[in-house]
């Protein structure tokens, strides 16, 4: 039987035909925007990939079978979304790199995920708190991206948004139940929040890439998502009887650091060592 055509490559011509007049398409995107767009797509795709991989590490280790299955399914959603984002990144970049290539053949400094998603899983509570803080941002980002001037971005966002809505429902639900739970669970959730909160600011911090894409109507300014993120976080933490950390030092914003610029914590290298081993040891291996 002949092998299948590659249906994972987006149908560029059809999307171009659907695009509103003046919107960028692969064939005639403003060359000044291609660089920032690739950068943005890698940030968005890498967030999904690294968080998806982190969450998948719970498979077989969760405190209850239902939670194990839920985490694995959520990881699956995120890795699937990453495939769409990185696939488009490779296409816009035009250097023949596939989503797999980008996932498995880049080194840590070429990854663009925020620091929050690469932090260790910690206990179950820390994993859920990280998920909630990210989900509350992710949903706002995707919702804004469904209005992107680039139809390829908008259609991936519309797909992912529906899935992430369920992620947020689940993580918020569990943050509330564990926060407003036993003394032990509450203490763990508060400790997780204290540890993770200084990593949240990076998600909503604007840089030159963000400003270029916002000017072109392709992506929102991350700072424009802060008010909605903040409201969701404050309401859920209050319901969870947890104390909002208030203004704290924020990692990844000052100086030259930050995952969006490829300057990561030491944790990312260990993730990549595990995740990329096979393609590094046996390049192009398939089965």
């Amino acid at each position: 039987m002949p092998s299948l055509p590659d249906v994972m490559t987006p149908d560029v011509e059809r999307l171009a035909a659907q695009a509103p007049r003046g919107a960028p398409t692969a064939s005639h995107i403003d060359p000044h925007l291609a660089g920032p767009l690739v950068e943005f797509l890698m940030r968005t795709g890498d967030n999904a990939l690294i968080l998806g991989h982190r969450v998948s590490q719970w498979c077989g280790h969760s405190p209850a079978l239902e939670e194990d299955i839920a985490l694995a399914n959520q990881a699956l959603d995120l890795v699937g979304q990453c495939q769409l984002w990185l696939g488009l990144a490779g296409e816009v970049e035009g250097r023949g790199r596939s989503a797999d290539h980008l996932a498995y053949r880049r080194d840590a400094a070429a990854f663009r995920n925020v620091l929050l998603v690469e932090l260790p899983n910690g206990d179950f509570g820390q994993t859920l708190m990280r998920q909630f803080l990210f989900d509350a941002f992710h949903i706002e980002l995707l919702r804004a991206l469904t209005r992107s001037a680039d139809p390829r971005v908008a259609e991936i966002a519309a797909k992912a948004q529906k899935e992430v809505a369920y992620h947020l429902e689940r993580s918020a639900d569990l943050v509330i139940r564990l926060g407003d739970g036993t003394d032990e669970s509450r203490a763990r959730m508060q400790a997780a929040l204290t540890y993770l909160f200084p990593y949240t600011g990076e998600m909503m911090h604007d840089d030159a890439v963000d400003r270029a894409l916002a000017d072109a109507g392709i992506a929102p300014l991350p700072s424009s998502l802060r008010a909605d993120w903040d409201r969701t976080v404050r309401e859920v933490l209050a319901e969870a009887t947890l104390t909002h950390p208030g203004q704290t030092y924020q990692h990844g914003i000052a100086g030259q650091g930050g995952g969006k610029r490829g300057v990561h914590t030491e944790h990312l290298g260990f993730i990549l060592a595990e995740m990329q081993f096979l393609q590094r040891a046996y390049p192009d291996a398939t089965w």
Partner: protein
């Protein structure tokens, strides 16, 4: 070279309605609503497929199954295209598909109840409960409770019936 007459797209839809979903084999690909188009472009049949969930591992199997089913019917010039937009929704599940799900033990989706990710203003009603009334697919009781937002696959949630005590999957609305 023989030129067999090109089968009518309606006939091809009929063939595809016999291809089972690999994960829930009681329903077909057309029941699931993921076949978005069947058309001839010159002498090539183009079948447009939309994925259910972004990471659904069944996607590649589904493509293989479509190709195999159509080749068995003698269609050898075939192209599968992926379409993301509009994104798949459980609203596209057919009525007969929903009945087959129920008979199989999976509660079908309740349309219009998809999560929208807007939590603000309703967090006090969020925790630990389901605001949906899902009837048990075995005994019909509506005394059921949600166990987990994610069941055996991303498209399902885990529920439990407090009357007949059986656990069951709910095909959640998306």
């Amino acid at each position: 070279m023989d030129h067999a007459p090109r089968p009518d797209p309606a006939e091809i839809w009929g063939w595809l309605s016999e291809v089972p979903d690999p994960e829930i084999p009681v329903i077909s690909l057309t029941d699931l609503g993921i076949i978005r188009g069947v058309e001839w472009q010159d002498d090539t049949l183009v079948v447009t497929v939309t994925p259910t969930y972004s990471g659904c591992p069944a996607t590649s199997i589904i493509n293989l199954d479509i190709e195999r089913a159509l080749r068995e019917r003698g269609i050898d010039r075939l192209r599968l295209e992926r379409r993301l937009s509009p994104p798949w929704t459980t609203d596209w599940l057919t009525e007969s598909g929903r009945e087959k799900l129920r008979a199989y033990g999976i509660a079908p989706p309740i349309d219009g109840t998809a999560a929208d990710g807007r939590l603000a203003g309703r967090v006090s009603r969020l925790a630990g409960t389901s605001n949906l009334v899902i009837a048990c697919p075995r005994c019909g009781s509506t005394k059921t409770e949600k166990v987990s937002q994610f069941g055996s696959t991303p498209c399902k949630a885990s529920y439990r019936c407090t009357d007949c005590l059986e656990p069951f999957d709910y095909f959640k609305c998306i």
